[in-house]
Every structure is written in C-alpha cells, then in structure tokens.
C-alpha cells in the first residue's frame, strides 16, 4: 500500500530520517513510536505528502486516500464550528468546488459520527468538548473523507486514561470491523503496545527498528531504548513495568 524507499528527510537543516526503507501493507495497524524529536511527525508528514523528502520516495498505490488526524495544536479553537460542521469538512474535496453537500454527503457525515460514537454531540461546539470528544470529532472528520488509510499523530496526548483507552478501542474497532489501515504515531509505547500490530521504532542517533508485536521482548526494548524495561503479560496483554 505504502512503500517508503530510501527515505531521507529532516527539518531546519538537521537530518532526522536517514535512508528509511519500510512497507505498510493494506489492513495494517502500524505504530510509529519514538521519543520527541525522533522524526515521527516528520515521517507522517512525508507519508501524507505535506512535506517533501530530501532524498528517496514515498510510493503509494494510485488513488490511495488518507484520512488525517494531525496533532490538535494545529487547530485553532477560536473557530465556532459545531461537530457536524467539522465532520462535513471531511467531504469538501469529494463534494468539489462550486457544489453544495448532497444527501449522500449528509448521510456519510451521520455515519461517521455514528462510527466515532459522537452522534449525540453533533450540534455541540467543538471548542466546548473534552479532549477525547475533540479527538473523536477529528477521527469522524477523517472517516467522512472515505479514506483507505487513517493516519493519527499522537491522538492520545492530553487524554486521561479512560479517554485514551476508549480512543484506542475505537481505532481497534475501525481496524477490525471496518478493515481500515491505520498508522498511529505515539511517543508512549505503553499506551499503544497492545493495539498496533507492527511497530517502527525511531530513535535519535540509532537505526530505525521494525518489529511485529509478537516479536517484542525485553531484549528488543533494551536494544531500542538503551535501558532495561520489564515486560510482562497481564490477562493476555503486554504491560511495560
């Protein structure tokens, strides 16, 4: 679905991604994990075409549509839009210039609200919602764009443990029930460890490491993070202690 071929990129003159070679397959749940400044968001911006690589290529299959949920700091909450209005923004490019939303656009918006479990919030103002509700609104907006691949940048930032768990369950549902390919960026491995199926670990001054969830053990984590982490299974789930 997406092939990152010898990708090299950075920002402000400093290289953060160097000759990265990686494939993201259809129906993948792909986690990109690493500390702040490791190049996670840069990689996401490269995948989404928001930034050009210094060298190498991002090769996507023709017609691939992304649904993006970038970090909320990029959104100015002074805007007085309702949840429904924001979700409708996901349809803008599909509706096309000159035209007004038709009944199928409105249906798609309602369906997206339903999937994101925020139908009851449709008439509320975005800037009056909680962090978790805002994140769901942005996911619903991305779903309204009928994407093949959902891309999320630190979606669990600022969320309490309940909000975080509910959001990750929603992503899991989208992946399992709706067969959505998901690319999830996070700096908190312990939060996303049980949700993503494959991981790309980015770390400053180290080679990127790509592993499946089943392959993750204490030795792998030590190699990636340079210190000892205890990994246990609790009720069949991985837990970092």
């Amino acid at each position: 679905m997406i092939h990152l071929h010898q990708l090299t990129a950075g920002y402000g003159g400093s290289k953060v991604i160097d000759k990265l070679e990686c494939r993201i397959e259809e129906n993948d749940f792909f986690g990109i994990v690493g500390p702040n400044g490791a190049g996670k968001s840069t990689l996401l911006r490269l995948i989404l075409g928001l930034q050009k690589p210094w060298r190498g290529q991002v090769i996507c299959y023709r017609g691939l549509r992304f649904g993006g949920c970038m970090q909320r700091i990029g959104i100015d909450e002074i805007f007085p839009f309702t949840v429904r209005e924001i979700v409708m923004m996901g349809r803008v490019s599909l509706i096309g210039p000159w035209k007004r939303p038709k009944s199928n656009d409105r249906e798609k918006v309602e369906e997206s609200l339903r999937i994101a479990e925020i139908s009851s919030l449709a008439g509320r103002r975005f800037n009056q919602l909680s962090g978790g509700q805002k994140q769901r609104t942005l996911i619903a907006r991305a779903l309204a764009a009928e994407p093949h691949c959902l891309v999320l940048d630190e979606p669990t930032n600022d969320l309490d443990i309940k909000g975080c768990r509910e959001l990750l369950h929603l992503l899991k549902k989208l992946h399992e029930e709706y067969k959505m390919t998901i690319i999830l960026v996070s700096h908190e491995l312990e939060r996303v460890l049980n949700y993503a199926e494959r991981f790309l670990f980015l770390n400053l001054d180290k080679e990127p490491v790509m592993v499946r969830r089943q392959e993750i053990d204490e030795a792998v984590l030590r190699n990636i993070f340079d210190f000892d982490l205890q990994l246990d299974k609790v009720n069949g789930k991985l837990a970092i202690l």
Partner: protein, 277 residues
C-alpha cells in the same frame, strides 16, 4: 454642532453613504476570516499598502485604484508566501510592511500638493468626495469578491480551520489561501482612498467581533457581522453629517460603542441566567 437634517438629502451624501455601506458590508464579511485566521495585523498592513498605492498613483499620475490594487496584490502575495510556509519571522514582516508603507505614503502625499486639494486622507478617508465611477468600480469589485467567497465558502472555511487536513484530503490549501489573501487585498485596496485606514480596519475588526460574540453558528456569525456593520455605518454616517464630524472616524466610534454595549448586554444576560439557575 448643528442639527440640520436637510443635508442628508444631498446627492453627494448618498454617494458617500453607498460607498461606506459597500465597504462596511464587504469588510465585515472578510473580518470574520481575519479574526479567525488571526491575521488582524495583516489586514491593517494591507490597508497601509493600499494607501501607499493611492499615494503613488496620485504622485506619478497613474490610476490610483489600479496602483492600490497592484501594490496590495504584491503585499498579499508576500504575506501568503510567508504565512503559508510558516515562516518564523512572519509577524516581523507584517510590521515592516506596515511601517515602511505608512512612512512612504506620508512622504508621497506631503510632496503632492494636489493630494490635499482632492480630499485625499489615507487615515480617515473622505467619503464625501466619492464619484460615481469610483463607486461603480468599488461595487463591481465587491460583488466579484463576495461572489467568489460565497461560491467557495466551504473551501475557504476548511482551509482556514485546518489547512493540513484539507491538503491531505486533496484540497489545494495554498491556492485557496492565496485567493483569500488576494480577495482581502482587493477589497481593501478598492475602498482605501475614500474610506481611509481607520474605517477599513475598523470595519474588518469590530463587526466580525460582534458576530463572534453573538452568533451561535457560522452563518449567524457572518450575518450578524454584516448587519452590525451596515447599521452602525448608516447611523454613524448620518450623525457625522448632522454633527459636522468626519464620517469615517464617527462610524468607527459607533462600531466601538455598539460593541461595548453588546458585550455588556451579553455579560448581563449571562449573569441573570446564572442567577436564575
């Protein structure tokens, strides 16, 4: 201060009132974007550049509206370039353009004895000098700009709210942002000679603020901003003539007083509602 209401029947007064009303409505509409996109100082810098265009046009003997549009187009292009690439020094650029344009306009007007004779006042404007051809050009430009805004409202709104998302979905964010900046520049430059900096800036800022204060949804906000601008403009204009005060500053003072009243009223209503709950 006289109270001779018969002056309102004079044809030049109607020309001035129509000019002020067109400027108020278009600027109020754009003002909503200006506040939401936090480009208030971009708009005042564009107004200053338009003023420089007028001063240049008059000094070098070329059509001042054309000169104002050309200058503003260049400034809008520069701002778009800096703002759409997230340049770190964008605020400094706005400040630079503002002060250099203002200084240059002051010098050119001081060196041009015809400017004062023709009623040119870059700061407070002079609606009473409005001529029919100028009003027609202003009306045509305003109609074109508003038509574009209404036809592509969803694109402008989507790009203003979250340009990255719009781009991910296939909308050409940079193109629509450029059109937005250019339309803003065009609106300002078309009205600058007659309206002056104070009135253009006031019309961009205060009515939109009133809309955001009272409106519950997007359409309401735009409608309230436009109605607020139209009401205060007509009232302020009429009273400025009756009281013999400069129209543009008087209308801006009316904007200010109305906004204060609305803010107090809203605060009072909220307090009463809370007390009753």
């Amino acid at each position: 201060m006289n109270t001779d209401w018969s002056i309102l029947a004079e044809p030049f007064v109607w020309s001035g009132a129509i000019t002020a009303l067109i400027t108020a409505v278009v600027c109020a509409y754009f003002g909503v974007y200006v506040i939401l996109k936090r480009i208030v100082f971009v708009s005042v810098a564009l107004a200053e550049v338009a003023g420089l265009g007028v001063a240049c046009g008059m000094f070098f003997g070329v059509n001042h509206q054309l000169a104002a549009v050309s200058f503003t187009f260049l400034a809008a292009f520069l701002f778009w370039l800096y703002f759409s690439t997230g340049h770190a020094l964008k605020e400094s650029l706005v400040g630079y353009v503002y002060c250099v344009a203002a200084a240059a306009a002051i010098i050119l007007l001081a060196m041009n004895p015809m400017a004062r004779a023709r009623g040119v006042d870059i700061v407070s404007g002079n609606f009473l000098y409005a001529q029919r051809p100028e009003i027609i050009v202003l009306a045509l430009i305003s109609a074109a700009v508003i038509t574009i805004q209404l036809l592509f409202a969803k694109e402008f709104i989507a790009v203003s709210f979250d340009r990255d998302f719009a781009r991910i979905c296939g909308t050409n964010s940079r193109f629509w942002e450029f059109i937005l900046y250019f339309s803003l520049g065009l609106t300002i430059s078309a009205s600058m000679r007659l309206s002056g900096l104070v009135y253009v800036f006031g019309s961009l800022l205060i009515p939109a603020w009133a809309g955001l204060l009272l409106g519950r949804g997007t359409i309401q906000i735009f409608l309230i901003a436009v109605c607020f601008a139209a009401f205060n403009t007509l009232l302020g204009f009429a009273l400025a003539l009756v009281w013999d005060t400069p129209p543009a500053p008087t209308m801006v003072v009316f904007y200010g007083i109305s906004l204060l009243l609305l803010t107090s009223l809203k605060a009072g209503v909220i307090r009463l509602t809370r007390a009753g709950a």
